[in-house]
Symmetry: C3
Subunit: 141 residues, 3 copies
């Protein structure tokens, strides 16, 4: 009687071995979080250059990029930042740029003190961890 | 006759699409290794701040944190470290803090030269690699 | 009639729970990309030390190592690099060492300006992203 079920067995096996865990996996979507934790405009420019190069190389539509500024790096996103123009350009190009609210609280910074249109996360370091554990690559310029 | 096996086919399909590889995966446990490889107390404090913020944000019971000191960063864990008190606090809060034995050997440091209760790994850089390949996030403050 | 198919159901379940996604997975091959993006010979030496220590600890045959130099780090791989000898040693030991062509273009560097035998990638930062998303660990010395 087993033979009656054989087609199903074959189907089950085919489905099974077609699961991503065993078969050739398609390349995951390109996704990268970039850490900005230095109070150093050279690093800020490097992060912005990196984001731009990644979009140029892969096509902006084909990659998710998020720049996370925290700790001493928070100054990158203050309203008077020396890279304000470039941050605006990155946001306009579809790069997510987020500030750490923990750091802002410690430095008594309100959203009004920050560049317009940046995003916010509760804890920059947790954001960097979680994105990695969700499969994003990590770059620390 | 296939119809007789249809319930099984449905069962198989349900099981199949419930496998973590295809279905919505549960979030992995939050785990992070932090690299300390600079001889710079500002970086040591940043790593310790990061660990503290991660525990505050996620709850200490919900995250595994390991700080790995190696190369020029080994000084963070010497008995006379300027952050000795904070390292003790981190250990007490459940953060693993480990020193690289390769670096200690190169610098002629024995365990007696190091802070009490820190852990040891053979090669700090290998520890950082292996943890990542086991699914831990990586932060380089 | 279900009972006729029970052996198949057992088989399906066994196959299912034997998939890598659920069963104990074998440790992945040790693979690491190292980022060199600072114009700082101390960092270059640290990256080279790290590569050497990883090979010593795991066995050179058991690990894939790639050092990616880009941005201000590109100087590590110029023909007149102060670590030219050590880069040659690393290449001879099976470490891949690659230069970012985007950076070379921006700095008007040709392959003739670079150390012999180094490899090339279009965009260093994309290389670092893609390797991570393919399961390689990431180290930023």
């Amino acid at each position: 009687m087993l033979s009656r079920c054989l087609p199903l067995a074959v189907l089950a096996a085919v489905l099974l071995f077609a699961t991503p865990s065993q078969a050739q996996q398609p390349a995951p979507r390109a996704r990268v979080v970039m850490q900005v934790s230095d109070n150093d405009p050279a690093k800020w420019n490097l992060a912005l250059n990196n984001a731009k190069n990644v979009q140029a190389d892969l096509g902006a539509a084909n990659v998710d990029i998020e720049i996370v500024a925290y700790g001493p790096g928070i100054n990158m996103l203050k309203a008077d930042s020396v890279v304000a123009g470039r941050v605006g350009d990155a946001l306009g190009a579809g790069v997510a740029v987020v500030a750490c609210e923990n750091t802002m609280h410690a430095q008594k910074l309100a959203k009004d003190d920050m560049l317009p249109k940046v995003g916010y996360v509760g804890a920059g370091v947790v954001e960097l961890m979680q994105k990695q554990q969700q499969g994003w690559a990590y770059i620390r310029p």
